[in-house]
C-alpha cells in the first residue's frame, strides 16, 4: 500500500501501529476486507464510516477482542499476535469502548483496575491502594467526582465515561482507541474529552478516534481513514480535504484528489 505517503512529515518516525491487509469474516460476510491503516506517535487518526462499515470490528481486532482471519499487525515495527484483550494491553493498546464496557455492579476503582488489580503482600485485593489511585486519576479527569463507594451504574453518563477513560489512560497506554467517545455526552463534557485528547497527544500517545460525527473528527484528528462495506475507501490529511469531500467518501465511496484511495474506493 502507498497510503503511507500521506504521512510525509512524520515519515522519519516509525509508525506506532500498522495493520496490513487485515480481514475478518462472520458467517461468510466480510466485515473487514483487506484493510491497511497506520498510526504514528502523537497523532490522532479518525476512523470514519457508516454504521456497519466495519470500523468497530477493525478496532476490536486491534484491541484483541476478535482475532483477524488474515493480515498482519505491527506495534513499533514488531509483528504481534493479538488473541485476547490481555495481549493488546500488554502491547500498550488501550480501548475505550462505545458501550464503555464497565461492570455496573462494582465501584469506580474496581472498574479502573479490573483485570489488573493491585494486591497486598498477602495476595489479597488492596482496595485502599486502588481507591487512592482511582481518586488521583479521577481527580485529573473529573475533579468534582466524589462517588467512589457507589457501583458505577449509579453514576451519570459523563461520570461513567470518565471512569472508562481513567481505566484506559492509567496504565501508560501508547495507543488509545476511542470508539464514539462523546456519543453519550453533553457539550461541556464533549469539550472536556477534546481537551484530554489534545493533552494525550502531546504526551506522544497515538489515538484512533472512531466516530460518525465528522465535526468532532475534523476538530481533533490529524488524518482520517474512511471505511465503507468493510473496505478502506481512502486516507487523507484533514488539511487536504473538505468536510463535503469526506462525506462523499463515507456515503459514495468517492475518493477526492486530496486523498490516497484504498481498495474500497469507487471507480
Amino acid at each position: 500500500m502507498t497510503a503511507l505517503a500521506t504521512s510525509e512529515p512524520l515519515a522519519a518516525t516509525r509508525p506506532l501501529v500498522e495493520m496490513r491487509d487485515v480481514s475478518i469474516a462472520f458467517g461468510g460476510i466480510k466485515a473487514v476486507d483487506g484493510v491497511s491503516i497506520d498510526l504514528y506517535p502523537g497523532e490522532v487518526v479518525g476512523l470514519l464510516g457508516h454504521n456497519g462499515a466495519g470500523k468497530s470490528t477493525l478496532i476490536k481486532i486491534l484491541s484483541g477482542a476478535y482475532a483477524a482471519d488474515h493480515g498482519e499487525i505491527r506495534v513499533n515495527g514488531e509483528p504481534v499476535h493479538l488473541t485476547s484483550p490481555r495481549d493488546a494491553k500488554r502491547c500498550g493498546i488501550e480501548t475505550i469502548y462505545q458501550t464503555l464496557a464497565l461492570a455496573d455492579n462494582v465501584d469506580a476503582a474496581a472498574n479502573i483496575f479490573l483485570g489488573r488489580e493491585k494486591l497486598t503482600p498477602w495476595g489479597t485485593l488492596d482496595d485502599h491502594a486502588m481507591e487512592a489511585e482511582a481518586r488521583k486519576v479521577m481527580g485529573r479527569l473529573n475533579p468534582h467526582f466524589r462517588r467512589f463507594k457507589e457501583p458505577v451504574k449509579a453514576l451519570s453518563g459523563g461520570q461513567r465515561q470518565s471512569v472508562a477513560i481513567a481505566r484506559a489512560i492509567h496504565f501508560d497506554a501508547r495507543v488509545l482507541i476511542m470508539d464514539e467517545p462523546t456519543a453519550a455526552l453533553g457539550p461541556a463534557e464533549t469539550q472536556q474529552v477534546g481537551e484530554l485528547v489534545k493533552q494525550l497527544k502531546q504526551e506522544g500517545i497515538g489515538i484512533f478516534l472512531i466516530s460518525h460525527d465528522i465535526h468532532d473528527v475534523f476538530d481533533l484528528a490529524d488524518r482520517i481513514h474512511v471505511m465503507k462495506n468493510g473496505k478502506l475507501v481512502g486516507t487523507a490529511r484533514v488539511s487536504d480535504v473538505t468536510k463535503d469531500e469526506v462525506l462523499g467518501m463515507i456515503i459514495l465511496g468517492k475518493c477526492p484528489p486530496g486523498a490516497v484511495p484504498g481498495p474500497g474506493a469507487a471507480a
Partner: protein
Amino acid sequence: MAEPSTTLSPASSPEAPAGRRAGIGDALRALELDTRMVGMIGALAVVWIGFDILTGGAFLTPRNLWNLSVQTASIAVMATGMVLVIVTRNIDLSVGSILGFTGMVVGVLQARILPEIWGFDHPLTWVVAVMAATAVGGAVGALQGAVIAYLGVSSFIVTLGGLLVWRGAAWWVTTGQTVAPMDGLFKRLGGGFEGAIGAGPSWAVGIAAILLSVAAILMTRRRRAGFGFPVRPLWAEGVVILLVAAAIAGAVMVVNSYPLPIPVVRRMMEAQGTSQLLATDGGLPFVAHGFAIPVLIALAVGVGVTFLSRRTRFGRYVFAIGGNPEAAELSGINTKRVLVMVFGLMGALCGLSACIATARLNAATNANGTLDELYVIAAAIIGGTSMAGGVGTILGAMLGAMVMQSLQSGMVLLGVDAPMQNIVVGLVLVAAVYVDTLYRRGLK
C-alpha cells in the same frame, strides 16, 4: 417515641450535626450498616418471635435453636457456593445429586475400602473421607463448569443433565444399597452430642472470633485513615464492635445452655472415672453441648467464601462477570477459567455438605440430598442474590438458609403437615423476591 433517643444520640456523637430531628438518621448512616442485611435479620427475628408465641415458648429454646443450627448447616454450606454461581448469571441444579453421589463415594470409602487397609476407627479415616469428598465433588463441578464455559452449553441444561446423571451415579456406586454405619470420628461431623465441642472450647471459639472481628475492623479503619479516606466516627465504630461481640457471645451462651442428656453425662463421668463423685454428690453436673461441629464447619465455610468473594481477584472477577460479562472479557479476564473455578468450588462444597449429611444420618443412601438444589437456590435468593447476576452476599444466603429452616422447624413444632410446609416455604420464596424487587426499585 423517638424523642428520648434523638436527644441521646447527638450527645454520644460529637460529630453529629445540630439538627435534632435528623439525629437517628445520621446515627444510622454513620454506622454504615447494610440496610438490606438489617432487614434480613429483622425478618428472621419476626419469624422466630412469631413461632415462639404461636408454640407457647417452644421455639426460642436453646435446644430448638441448637437443632436449627445443625439442620441448617448442610444447606448453608452449599448456599455459599450457589451465591457465586448465581452471581455469574448461572444456575446449578445438580447440587443435590452431587451431594448424593459424593455421599455414596464417601460412605463406601470409609465403611468398606479404608477399613480393609487400616482397620476400623482409624484416626485418619475421617480426614481421608473429607478430602476425597471435596476432591470428587470439586472434580464433578469443574467438569460441568468446563462444559458450560468451553462448550457453551447453558448451565441450566448442563446441571439439569447433571441432576439426573449424578443421582444415577449415586445408585451405581452400590447398586442402590445403603452403606452404614459411618466411622466413629467421621460421625461427629454431623452433630449430635458426640459432634458438639462443649462449653469451654465454645467460649474459646467465640472469644477468638470476637478478637479477630475487632482486629479486622480496626485494621480497615487504620488503613483508610492512612490514605486520608473518610472513616466512621469513633462512637459508631464502637457500636459496630459491640454489636458483633454481642452477637457472637449470645450465640455461645445459647449453645452453652443446652445440656447434654443425663444418661450421656453419666456415661461420660463413668468413663472418666469420676463416678465416685457421683456417689457422694448424687446430682449430675450440667454439661453443655456447645457449638455443633457441622455448624462450625458452615461458619468457617461462610467466612472463607466471603473472604474469597471480597478480598481476592477471583471474587472480584466473579462479580465483574455477573455485572457485565462482555466488559469482564474485554478487561482481559479469563472468564471461562473463572466459571470452571466457580462450578468446581460449588462441587467441592457439595462434597463437604455430603460429609455433614452422611455423618448426620450415619448412613450413605443414594437418595441423600434429593431436592436440596431447590432449598439451596431458595436460600441464596431469599438471602438477596439477584437472578440477574452481579449481586449477592454469602452472609445473606446463610441467613436465607436459616430463615427457611426456621419456617420448616417452626411448622413442625406447630404440627403443620408436610404438604402445607412446602406450600408455605414456596410462597415465602416468591414473597421474599417480590419484597426484594420493591426494595431495589426504591433504591433507584
